[in-house]
Symmetry: C2
Subunit: 311 residues, 2 copies
């Protein structure tokens, strides 16, 4: 694959508290604001607490999931008095960090999340964003925290829904397991180290380094599996099976146990072999998601560097 | 210590959802209700979902923590229109399962809880309740789940505040780590097995078995440690230190790390050696509790059996 050059990446936004009960990002952003981290050699760092009202009451959201409000259609629809709190906040964040798809958008947006799933530290991004993928590769090679997965959602651009899609480039940094409402020091340290590595990469990029291309591994989302539910009450009738629990990113074969019903029966995986992730994420019960499935893919990424002025 | 005899223990109440986001008890109670578990050889089993409104929205409580509403003073104070939702519910539960301290109260009350702390399965009880302690001992000897701690709160009876104190005898079954809003099959299985063992013990007791006394180990609560906080905003400025995180019930010595501040400094334990528990429980941030401390004690429990009629 050929070489691609990009304009400088000088405006970096770090967001926390997009979900008001995912504590790592909230404390990281507050600490960076206390430290007055605003300009680090050619990179201006902007920190944002995305949903202050939800943070105040330590809930994921007030009226609707903020991190599903950033499609182009939702951002261009007019607001009115009865628009949900989060839709109003999405418009504010789009004005502050975007507008999405415009030249005014921040160059890179990193949104900090936690999950109750045993996913370790991972990146979630959309649609072959070469800048984002190069940053993932760099962090993977430098991090002291072992395997770091990259999850890619390949969808029409108009359907990309999350806050990081407001930036020209972006990703979510998703770290778990951590219960909602809890901050763990080990996870806080992991995120702080990762942010340092991202800033280091941006500085290298802006100083003219070329980053070599090559093959890299990612998990491309394929489908979603819901819990077995009572047809009348819609309450779940089974929990994630102990064999699947905590085994995110371990290949699931047809016939492997996936649920244990509350009466003790085992329910098995019936589809093709696939990699599970977001296994038993607490916020996904209401979204009817017990876990996601992905295929492992190899992505050929181009070498990249900064566009020379007037080039 | 001499022998003590007690009246038969025929009325057993199992409560779940006292905290509406602690999912094991909610699913256990729902499943027992589906199975129509109501009478098992001389023991009538009553199941209760304690806080249905909080369960519906998957929150700990609506207005105030239900599990702090059961002191004699609060239960005897008149309700009015502005009484918190949970205070009203406490009066209803006291009428259903108590009244506390009266001959009409259920014989045994087991309240099912989860914690985000790494406490495994443990019992929490008040003030040398011999029946409760004998049941703990029985479960410890029969359970397939390894070490089971017993935590005792020794306080004036008038200050005992939690739902299980409405029964003539009682305890909380506290199991973790499990994030709020999540049900884990392994923890569900653990609680189901424990309830079977408790019912088995009650049947043996009611059929006239004598249970030998002896020494048993418990953790007597001594004090509470809060997070370091910003004096102005009262926000926490540190997280539980990685050396303490997940190490509930492991002896903490003076000088051992207990917190890591968000700027990276280590804060050490300054008091006497003690056993920490409820380390990083999510619901305790607002209560200003980072962890509890206990002393390990040996309790001499008497042998017990059922009172013969007219004895």
């Amino acid at each position: 694959m050929e070489h691609i050059s990009f304009p400088p990446l000088t405006r970096f936004a770090i967001c926390g508290g997009t979900h008001g009960n995912e504590m790592t990002g909230i404390h990281v952003v507050r600490q960076m604001e206390k430290n007055k981290v605003v300009e680090v050699e050619d990179v201006s760092v902007m920190t944002v607490l995305s949903n202050p009202d939800a943070i105040k009451v330590c809930r994921r959201y007030m009226e609707t999931d903020l991190n599903r409000c950033f499609t182009s259609a939702l951002l261009s629809a007019p607001l009115n008095a009865s628009s949900p709190h989060e839709m109003k906040r999405a418009h504010e964040l789009n004005a502050l960090l975007g507008p999405k798809g415009s030249p005014d958008a921040v160059d890179l947006l990193c949104d900090l999340h936690n999950t109750t799933s045993n996913m370790g530290l991972c990146f979630i991004l959309f649609n072959y964003d070469w800048i984002a993928l190069h940053i993932c590769k760099y962090v993977q090679s430098k991090s002291s925290y072992g395997t770091i997965a990259v999850i890619q959602l390949v969808v029409p651009d108009s359907e990309s829904f999350s806050l990081e899609t407001v930036g020209k480039h972006g990703f979510s940094l998703e770290v778990g397991p951590q219960p909602t409402g809890v901050v763990r020091a080990d996870i806080y340290n992991m995120v702080m180290e990762t942010l340092d590595l991202i800033i280091e990469w941006l500085q290298k990029f802006n100083s003219g380094c070329t980053f070599e291309g090559g093959e890299m591994e990612a998990f491309n989302w394929t489908k979603t599996i819901d819990y077995p539910r009572d047809p009348t009450t819609h309450e779940i009738t089974a929990a994630i099976h102990p064999h699947l629990q905590d085994n995110d990113f371990k290949l699931l074969h047809p016939g492997d146990p996936i649920f244990q019903s509350f009466t003790g029966e085992t329910i098995k995986h019936e589809g093709e072999a696939a990699y599970p992730f977001f296994v038993n994420e607490c916020a996904y019960y209401e979204k009817k998601i017990a876990f996601h499935l992905a295929q492992k893919v190899s992505i050929s990424i181009p070498s990249i560097s900064m566009q020379k002025e007037n080039a």
